[in-house]
């Protein structure tokens, strides 16, 4: 395996451990916002899409990349905004908590 791949594996494994540990007890009211917030994060594939569509010439791969950019951006922007809207609902709750 290349060194870059090995480094990537380490990064993957450690990030997965962080993901497992970072969520402990979540009150049920927050399940949906948490799901939607982490869903927005998974729109990170927009970075891959940007790189894929970066070439100068028009090729199928660039077009696919641009479609991916649009879809992933909807996911990211929609996801964070929707989460915020949901959490706004619980504002009064926040003050008490």
């Amino acid at each position: 395996m290349t060194e870059a791949l090995i480094a990537a594996l380490f990064v993957f494994a450690l990030a997965a451990f962080v993901g497992f540990e970072v969520i402990n007890k979540v009150p049920p009211t927050l399940h949906t916002p948490l799901m939607s917030g982490s869903n927005a994060i998974s729109g990170i594939s927009v970075l891959g899409a940007i790189v894929a569509s970066g070439a100068k010439e028009w090729k199928i791969s660039v077009i696919l990349g641009l479609i991916a950019v649009i879809l992933a951006t909807i996911n990211v922007v929609g996801g964070f905004l929707v989460t915020d809207r949901m959490l706004q609902m619980f504002k009064k709750k926040e003050i008490k908590a």
């Binding site: 990064v11 994060i41 998974s42 894929a52 070439a55 649009i70 992933a72 922007v77 709750k93 926040e94």
Partner: protein
């Protein structure tokens, strides 16, 4: 000097990844959740901006246009969607993210095809995994969306030889992948693998009932994280790998937590239609023994009298209130009762309705004061001193057999103990079972009276009757 930009990009990625981690952590606790969401969004913004500086990106206009289009659609959708449609919305967005990850792999495949350079083995493996997971996320989320939105029936869809068919699909994915690992430039086989992945996503979700969709969406959310991580291995980008692994792992934990709150196992959610772990569905048969039991039914006038002359009323909303969109009438009823000097509280069960926080969202929409909402643990000890518990379209969450009958599929789930109140009024349309499909002994108790009818009508009638008291 030429080194400076890549280094800067990587260090910014590190900052963005830390923001994601802290954001996720904060999203898990009520006091900090909004902050956490903002932190994660800032991390995302940083990551996107800095990626535009990548040396491979030469073609800014189109990308910026794409970002602008995506952002506008996303923003409009986020502001247009109704609160009660949140689970669908999350499912839809999740599907888009999954498809984007898969498209990254497809685009990379096409690029390599054009460049006709040899593809390293690990890149091919990542690509194939990305296509599989991303494809399943895409179509699976689309089906989940359709089920929740009512475009498709919510009931589990099964057909003869379903499992052999699924096995066949999985087999052809594996065979196709093996071919591609040997000859990575075979376009038809690649497209075949893409197609099979998409069909697998459909097959994965159709046998699962509509009520379980929130869990399925959470699981698919975890998948979309894994798809993003796989895309990260394809283009060798640490940021994708970290964010993807984070979402993949935390999504799995969240799915587990959600299952536990509903007293189900993930296995039974996914496979109960095949009768393997079908505790919750099998229980439906219990209704058969109920024929000789007696139910006390009253009319709204009597109900209004019971409520109006009570000292304390606890309202227990459930899925039926959500379906009937009765929250505003409920709020009105509570106001009227308070005018009569009745002490009114709402008891919120954590899994009442069909999505976590469903009742909180609805009641917040109807401007019910937050102080009147009480958690299960909070209200249960008070129910004994309550004059009337008013159950509106709730069923499983007030089913005493969860406490007493260890053969019931919901045995062990903590419930709102309304059977301990001095009187209980239940509003529902008929004697149908709830989500878990089990009969409810509460309805046959002497202290319980039924008000049959749709929640919205019935509550409205109660309001007008209470006004005349």
């Amino acid at each position: 000097m030429s080194d400076l930009i890549p280094t800067g990009i990587q260090l910014t990625y590190l900052v963005a990844a830390s923001l994601f981690i802290l954001g996720l952590k904060k999203l898990g606790s009520p006091a900090t959740a909004r902050n956490g969401n903002v932190m994660a969004a800032v991390g995302m913004l940083l990551a996107v901006v800095v990626t535009l500086l990548d040396q491979q990106v030469l073609n800014y206009q189109m990308i910026l246009l794409g970002l602008a289009i995506g952002a506008s659609i996303g923003a409009i959708a986020a502001y247009k969607v109704e609160m009660t449609q949140m689970p669908q919305m999350v499912g839809l967005l999740n599907g888009l993210g999954g498809s984007a990850s898969a498209l990254v792999a497809v685009a990379e495949f096409w690029r390599l095809l054009g460049a006709s350079q040899s593809v390293p083995l690990d890149a091919s493996i990542s690509m194939l995994l990305d296509v599989l997971i991303g494809g399943v996320t895409f179509t699976g989320s689309a089906i989940a969306f359709a089920k929740l939105q009512g475009i498709m029936s919510g009931s589990p869809i099964t057909f003869p030889l379903q499992q052999p068919f699924n096995a066949l699909l999985l087999g052809s994915y594996l065979v196709g992948s093996a071919f591609l690992l040997i000859d990575p430039s075979n376009l038809p086989i690649f497209l075949g693998v893409v197609g099979v992945s998409l069909v697998l996503g459909v097959m994965f979700v159709i046998p699962i009932g509509g009520g379980d969709m929130p869990v399925v969406i959470s699981l698919l959310n975890s998948f979309s994280g894994l798809a993003a991580a796989a895309a990260g291995f394809v283009v060798m980008n640490n940021m994708l790998i970290i964010a993807g692994a984070l979402v993949g792992a935390s999504g799995l934990i969240l799915t587990e937590i959600m299952c536990k709150a509903m007293n189900r196992s993930l296995f039974s959610v996914l496979f109960s239609a095949f009768g393997t772990g079908g505790g919750a569905v099998a229980g439906g048969a219990a209704g058969a023994g109920a024929t000789d039991k007696v139910v006390h039914s009253i009319d709204p006038e009597e109900g209004a009298m019971m409520l109006g002359y009570a000292r304390s009323v606890v309202i227990v909303p459930g899925y039926g209130m959500a379906v009937a969109q009765a929250q505003h009438s409920v709020r009105e009823l509570a106001d009227q009762l308070e005018k009569l000097g009745v002490d009114v509280k709402y008891a919120i069960h954590p899994v009442a309705g069909r999505m976590p926080g469903h009742m909180n969202v609805l009641l917040a929409e109807a401007n019910v004061p937050y102080e009147q909402l009480h958690d299960m643990d909070d209200i249960n000890p008070q129910l004994e001193q309550t004059d009337v518990a008013l159950v509106i379209g709730a069923n499983d969450v007030v089913n005493p057999s969860a406490r007493t009958d260890d053969k019931s599929p919901i045995y062990g789930m903590p419930i709102l103990e309304v059977d301990k109140a001095k009187h209980t009024i239940v509003i529902k349309r008929g004697m149908s079972v709830g989500f878990a499909g089990v009969d409810n002994d509460l309805f046959y108790k002497d202290k319980t009276t039924m008000l049959f009818g749709s929640a919205k009508d019935m509550v409205a009638k109660l309001v007008s009757e209470v006004k005349q008291l």
